[in-house]
Each structure stands twice: as structure tokens, then as C-alpha cells.
């Protein structure tokens, strides 16, 4: 029933449609906050890296869905209990799978994901340097023929 109404951002609209709720930075709700500002800041940093798995591509920091609320509560509790961010993430992954982490962990499986951009720059840059160092091919130095140059000039004037 709900169709692709606009090409961009329509997933955000889903938030309003699905729950008839206001999408506002949900995690800042004063009723949920921890008393210790340092721990609260840590909790918020973790929230931003955790996907609200029932939403359209939102972190639990933004989402007002019930599941996001429950996860926030659980993570805040774990922080109070003194668990590290890594332990909390491991807990989430065992419960919901890799999918829940908005920042994929570096592993052999997704090494390509993290390294490809830099690898591509190095390979392409290396190829360019190699080509630049190669002696010039005399065939490449040929310029435009006089007729071609005349035609180009004529085109430029029109």
C-alpha cells in the first residue's frame, strides 16, 4: 500500500507510517538517561553503531521503536555493570547476528570491504606512475592534422 513515494529518504517516512510516531532523537529522552554523564556518553556512542533491526536503516540512537528502547535499556545496564564496549557488541552479535552492527567488524570475510578503496587507490596510482615513467611512444606525439585543427577551430567559433 505504501509505495515508493519519493526517490530519496522515503525510508524515514516509513518510521512515521509504521508506528505513527514522531521520529526524533529518541535516545536523548531524559527518562532513559544514566546519571553519570561519562557513562551516558559511552552509551550514546555505542547506540550509534547499533542497528534498530526492525526499522528501515536507523540506529537505535534515533529510533523510537520498542525494540530500540529495550536495546538501549539493556546496553545502559551493561555499561553500569562495567562491561566493555567490545563485550556489549559481542553480546549483541550473538543475539542478533552481524547484521545489528552498523560498523562491520574487520574480519577475513569482509577484508575486501575495508581494504578495497585503499587498494584501488594504490593500484591505480601505481599504474599511473608506471605509465608516466615509461618512455613516450612516438606514435602518441602525433598532433591534429591541419584539416582537423581547422575543423576544431570552426566548431569553436560556432
Amino acid at each position: 500500500m505504501i509505495r515508493d513515494r519519493f526517490t530519496r529518504f522515503n525510508w524515514r517516512a516509513a518510521c512515521a507510517v509504521l508506528g505513527a510516531i514522531v521520529c526524533i532523537g529518541a535516545a536523548s529522552d531524559p527518562a532513559e538517561r544514566l546519571a553519570d554523564p561519562a557513562k551516558e556518553a559511552r552509551a550514546r556512542a555505542v547506540f550509534q553503531q547499533v542497528r534498530c533491526v526492525v526499522c528501515q536503516n536507523e540506529s537505535i540512537d534515533d529510533s523510537e521503536a520498542d525494540l530500540a528502547h529495550d536495546l538501549r535499556q539493556s546496553i545502559r545496564q551493561q555499561i553500569v555493570q562495567g562491561r566493555s564496549d567490545g563485550q556489549i557488541r559481542a553480546f549483541l552479535v550473538t543475539r542478533y547476528g552481524e547484521f545489528i552492527l552498523l560498523k562491520p567488524r574487520f574480519s577475513l570475510g569482509n577484508a575486501a570491504l575495508w581494504l578495497a578503496p585503499f587498494g584501488l587507490v594504490l593500484i591505480a596510482g601505481g599504474a599511473l606512475i608506471w605509465r608516466a615513467r615509461r618512455p613516450a611512444d612516438p606514435a602518441q606525439t602525433a598532433d591534429l592534422t591541419p584539416e582537423e585543427q581547422a575543423r576544431l577551430n570552426a566548431l569553436g567559433e560556432n
Binding site: D4, G25, E98, F99
Partner: protein, 662 residues
């Protein structure tokens, strides 16, 4: 009756597109000007047909004709007129019609105005555009006709999602689509040049204005969409690296790379093959975006999955168009003559570096967008790619290319003097370091992102100004002489300067806002206040308000800074009666290019038991720069474009400019 006429016109447009392709191909093969001319006439006719269908749909929306299925699903009698009109492109079917309108419109423009193009090249380009039109119009007619009637029309429509009822969102699709589809002209010109076996400076000179126009429109479209997200969604974010956003960003990156490589091809005849590749790539990315958004293959758009058959058809169109283009490229490109020689340190070299990084950035966005699909196909387990991925890959790569940007325009063609260029940039570098230092010393807490971002932004702005100063020989010749030279500069030079300044402005805003945004939330009863940064907000009261199709709770909040009143904010919580949906209307209070961003939340008991409203506030310093920057970039594109028109259209004036410069 109007809807039937519209449907008829749409079918007619499809037939004319077929005729456009057929006649142009025949004209090209037989070398007949009459046949090619008939093809051009068909191109104009196809545009008129689609325009008529579009107009018919608009009438159906404005008159709330709910016997048309698309209107019944997306409109409502109580909706304001602007959103009735915007409803035309508010649905999948309607937005496809807008796409077709732009596609045939651009086809008609090439057909009717491309007088300076060689006849064969033009016939091939018009034919290619006709084939594209045929595919997309066939899709519109057979798979997503927005003018289909309902057997039992409802009395009232289902209305457009209220979160989409916003002026910025209403006008951004036309810009975005004009930008996406503008790349189709570049694609057609590239295919035509490959068929004719000729890519040269003259071809690049034809491609550049089209790329510039499409790029500027795309920039505006993305900026408007981002601004909408910023103030409509209620938590002040302006870019989420969501697949749907990435879909518009990839063609933008490819078009930006193309703009720069086409300069090299035009001015120096080099990089022709690469420019051709980018020309094909830009439109491929546009179509990939259209496919990703409509097919529902990505989680982001999952809820809007239209229907897999339609996605499949779009994938086939994408495959055919991109496949044909790149096969032709692989076949013909090696036969193209390579262009002029140049040393690694030269304007050409700098532009190649620009292209290297921009292409890798586009690839990174593509990888991040598609990786969840690839992962699922390979290992069965899906991963999520959030903003953190792009911040660690895209951002550093982009930072490198921006760092070297100011030096590029100061290098000469063929063989440049890097040391000389850097010497002429010393004051820009000094200014950048000073600005970074000021941020480092004055702002607390210390944020590396803000220090680097402001430094980089100032470096870009000052570097762009240094380049103009160099051109007019400011400081070496007298002031009057510099002014005279400034007037003599071609508009393209100003366009480039403006666009590069825009990049700097954007970087400063983006980095500063991200580093220093502050958030506060509290339950306030009337008379109570909360603080965010230097600002104090007092809730004066909450009243009721009524809009054309909604009821609202409207807060009155006084914003003060150090005791002095700054502004009155009126955030609203709206209840749209038709769909019973609640949305929040953010109040923005602009202060020194930043925003005090106020959201009125639900009513609930406060910490002391008294009933109040949850008020969320953000202080987003320099947030406006994030939108001013892209606006300046698009303005730069428009200024450049006006220059090209002068040069291409009025030869005498061009000759005079040349004399002045000599």
C-alpha cells in the same frame, strides 16, 4: 476523459520514440538529411506527448479525480494545492513519468538545438536518446502507468504521507530527476561518438555544458533533499549514508569526475577514452539509483518495495543500457587516437589525480551500498554498512583530493611548476593554519575534526581566491590593471572559483557542525527553561493551531542568549486527520549561520511530577554552511554554463574576449 487522453498521449509518445530511433538510424545509415530530420521531429513529438500525459495527471491531482488510481492512493481533497501538484511525482508511477518527461525533453533539445553537431554524430545521438526513451516509455506504459482508472473510485483519497508534505521535498524531485536524466544526454553523445569512432576536443566541448547543467541540477536536488532531512526528520542529521542517498551521490561523484576530465579532453585532447568511460558511467549510476530505490532490493527501501517484477524490468533496462554502452566502449575505445603528451606535474596530472580519487570515492560508495547484497549472496549472512564505514574510507580519500585541489588550477598545462604553485599559495596555507589554530585554541572541548575541517575549508576558499588573484596579477600589476583583468576573465573561471569556494564552505560547515553540535532534552512545564550551549529556552506555553489538513499543538518558546532575547520558536506536533499520522514540525532559529533547533515532543509528567512537554533542543553551529556550500557549487556551475553559451553561441564576442586576453 483527461486521464484517457493522457494515457493515449503516453502511448503516442512511445510510438514516436520508436519512430525517433528508427528514423534517426535510417537517416544515419543512408546519410539522408530528410530521414534524420524526421527523427528529430519525432523526438519533439515524443516530448509533447509525455508533456501532455504529465499535464493530464497534474489536472487529475489538482481536481482530486479519485477515479485515477494514482490520485486516490496519493492525494486528498484537503491537501494544499502545492502538495497536490507535487503529488504528481510523489509516487513510483508518477516519478517515472517525470523521468520520462525529462528524458524526452532533453532528447527534444538535442534534436532541435544541436545545430553545431556534425550531422552523423547528431543522428546517432538522437537515435540513442530515442532508444532510451523507448525503453523507459514502454516501462511507463506497460508496467507503471499512473493514469489508470479505478473501477470503483473512493470518495476520498488516501493522502500523501504528511512527512513528505513539505515545500523543499515537493520541489526537490524535479531538480534531482533533471540532474539524473541530464546524464542521459552525455550518455547518448558518448555512444554516438563511439559509433562514429571520433572523440576529440570538439566532442568534449559539446559534452561539457550538458554535464555542467546536469551536475548543477543534481547538486541542487541533493542539497534540497538533505535540507529537508535536516529540518523535517527532527534530529538535525543531514546525511545518513543511507542507500537511497548514496543512489543520488554516486552519479554526482561520477559527474564531478567527468566535469574535470572533459576539461582535459577539450583543452588538451588527452584522456579522451577515460572521459568517454565516465560519460557512460554517470548515466549508469543514475539508472542504478533508479533501480535501487524502486526495486526494494536494499533494506533501506524495503518497506516501499513496489513489486519485484517492476524492479526486474528496471534491472533489465539498466543491464541493456549499461551493457550496450560499455560493450561498445570496449570494442571501439582502443581504436581512438590517444591525445597530447604531458608531464606528471601539470594541470593534466592534477586533474588525473582528481579523477583517480573521485572515482575511487564513487567506487567506495558503490561498494558500501551493495556490499550487504554481496555478503548475503556469498555467505548468507547480511551485514550492515553504517556511516562509520564511510567515515573511515570515503572521508580520508576525499580529504586527500581536497588537500591537493588548490594547487591544481595554478599548474600550467603540459608541464607545471609545483614549487611555484605552492609559493603562490603560501598565504592561503598560512591563513588555513591560522584558522585551524584559532579553532584549536578557542573552542572547547578540543575536537580534531573541527580543527582539520576548518583548516581544510579555509585552505580551499583561500586557495580558490589565490588562483583568481594570480590570474589578475594582483599585487604585481597595479590595482586598476588587476580590476581590468578581472573584468576580462571568462565566466568559466569565476564558475570554477565559486564552485571550489562552495566546497570549502561545505567542508567547514560539515566538520564544525558534526564536531560541536550540542543536544539537550527535558520535560518542561510552562515557565520552565533549559539550556543548550550559550542559549536558554523558556517554554511560554503550548496552544492549539489548525492547518489546512492537520491539527497541531503549537509551542511558544523564547530563546535568549546571555539574558538577551534572540528569537521566538514555534515548534509543532501535528496530527494529520486523513491518515491519523503524527509528525513534528521543527522550529529553526538561525543564529550566526548556526541553528537553535527546537522539537516539541509528547506531553508527560516531568521530574517533579507536574505535567509538561518533552522539549528537545539542538545547537547546530555553522549548520547553514552545509547547505550554502552546495548552493555555491551549483551557482558556479550555472555561471560557467552562461560562459559556454556565450562562447558557443556568439562567435564575435568570443573573438573580442580573446583579444582582451592576448
Amino acid at each position: 476523459m483527461t486521464a484517457e487522453l493522457g494515457s493515449f498521449a503516453l502511448v503516442l509518445a512511445l510510438v514516436l520514440s520508436v519512430a525517433q530511433a528508427g528514423l534517426s538510424i535510417a537517416g544515419r545509415v543512408r546519410g539522408s538529411a530528410a530521414l534524420a530530420g524526421a527523427g528529430e521531429g519525432a523526438a519533439a513529438g515524443a516530448f509533447l506527448g509525455v508533456a501532455f500525459a504529465f499535464f493530464a495527471l497534474m489536472i487529475a491531482f489538482v481536481t482530486s479525480d479519485f477515479s485515477v488510481a494514482n490520485v486516490a492512493e496519493n492525494s486528498h481533497t484537503a491537501k494544499p494545492l502545492l502538495y497536490k501538484i507535487a503529488g504528481v511525482w510523489g509516487s513510483h508511477d508518477g516519478s517515472m513519468l517525470l523521468w520520462c518527461l525529462a528524458l524526452t525533453g532533453f532528447g527534444a533539445v538535442i534534436a532541435l538545438s544541436g545545430g553545431g553537431l556534425p550531422a552523423r554524430l547528431k543522428a546517432s545521438a538522437v537515435a540513442t536518446q530515442g532508444l532510451l526513451g523507448t525503453m523507459f516509455l514502454a516501462y511507463a506504459v506497460f508496467a507503471s502507468n499512473p493514469l489508470i482508472r479505478l473501477a470503483n473510485p473512493p470518495v476520498e483519497g488516501a493522502s500523501l504521507n504528511p512527512i513528505l508534505q513539505d515545500p523543499f521535498l515537493a520541489i526537490h524531485p524535479p531538480f534531482l530527476y533533471a540532474g539524473y536524466v541530464g546524464m542521459s544526454v552525455v550518455y547518448s553523445l558518448a555512444v554516438a561518438a563511439l559509433i562514429e569512432g571520433r572523440i576529440d576536443a570538439a566532442w568534449a566541448r559539446w559534452v561539457r555544458p550538458w554535464t555542467l547543467a546536469a551536475w548543477s541540477l543534481l547538486t541542487i536536488g541533493i542539497m534540497l533533499g538533505s535540507f529537508w532531512a535536516y529540518y523535517e526528520l527532527g534530529w538535525g542529521g543531514w546525511w545518513f549514508w543511507d542507500p537511497v542517498e548514496n543512489a543520488s551521490f554516486m552519479p554526482w561523484l561520477a559527474a564531478t569526475a567527468l566535469l574535470h576530465s572533459a576539461v582535459v579532453t577539450e583543452k588538451r585532447g588527452a584522456l579522451a577514452t577515460w572521459t568517454m568511460f565516465l560519460a557512460l558511467l554517470a548515466f549508469t549510476f543514475s539508472m542504478l539509483g533508479a533501480f535501487l530505490v524502486r526495486s526494494g532490493v536494499l533494506t533501506s527501501v524495503h518497506a516501499f518495495a513496489v513489486d519485484p517484477t517492476r524492479g526486474t524490468i528496471l534491472l533489465v533496462i539498466l543491464g541493456v543500457t549499461a551493457g550496450a554502452g560499455f560493450c561498445l566502449f570496449a570494442w571501439r575505445a582502443p581504436t581512438l587516437a590517444p591525445g597530447g603528451l604531458f608531464a606528471p606535474v601539470s594541470r593534466e596530472g592534477a586533474l588525473i589525480l582528481n579523477n583517480l580519487f573521485l572515482s575511487v570515492c564513487a567506487f567506495t560508495v558503490l561498494l558500501g551500498t551493495l556490499y550487504p547484497l554481496i555478503g548475503q549472496a556469498l555467505s548468507g549472512e547480511s551485514v550492515s554498512i553504517g556511516p562509520a564505514y564511510y567515515n573511515l574510507t570515503f572521508t580520508p580519500l576525499m580529504a586527500i583530493v581536497l588537500l591537493i585541489l588548490p594547487a591544481g588550477p595554478l599548474l600550467a598545462w603540459k608541464r607545471g611548476d609545483l614549487l611555484g604553485a605552492l609559493q603562490r599559495l603560501w598565504w592561503a596555507a598560512a591563513l588555513a593554519v591560522a584558522a585551524a589554530g584559532v579553532v584549536l585554541i578557542l573552542s572547547r572541548p578540543t575536537k580534531g575534526l573541527a580543527v582539520l575541517g576548518v583548516g581544510l575549508g579555509v585552505w580551499l576558499i583561500a586557495g580558490a581566491l589565490a588562483e583568481v588573484g594570480e590570474r589578475v596579477r594582483l599585487g604585481r600589476a597595479g590595482f586598476g590593471e588587476a580590476l581590468r583583468r578581472l573584468r576580462g576573465l571568462p565566466r568559466g573561471a569565476f564558475g570554477m572559483t565559486l564552485a571550489h569556494i562552495g566546497v570549502g564552505v561545505f567542508i567547514m560547515g560539515a566538520a564544525y557542525e558534526t564536531a560541536f553540535r550540542i543536544e539537550a532534552a527535558q520535560v518542561l512545564s510552562p515557565g520552565e527553561s533549559l539550556k543548550v550551549g550559550a542559549y536558554a529556552l523558556t517554554l511560554d506555553g503550548v496552544g492549539n493551531a489548525e492547518g489546512p489538513n492537520y491539527l497541531a499543538e503549537r509551542g511558544a518558546i523564547s530563546v535568549t542568549r546571555a539574558g538577551h532575547p534572540v528569537c521566538q520558536a514555534h515548534p509543532e506536533r501535528r496530527l494529520y486527520a486523513p491518515g491519523r499520522q503524527t509528525t513534528s514540525k521543527v522550529a529553526l532559529c538561525e543564529q550566526n549561520l548556526g541553528d537553535v533547533y527546537v522539537v516539541l515532543g509528547e506531553r508527560r509528567p516531568g521530574p517533579h511530577g507536574a505535567l509538561g512537554w518533552l522539549v528537545r533542543v539542538y545547537w547546530n553551529p555553522w549548520a547553514r554552511l552545509i547547505f550554502i556550500g552546495p548552493f555555491l557549487m551549483a551557482l558556479g556551475g550555472a555561471v560557467s554554463l552562461s560562459d559556454r553559451r556565450l562562447r558557443l553561441g556568439v562567435p564575435r564576442r568570443a573573438a573580442r574576449t580573446a583579444q582582451v586576453r592576448a
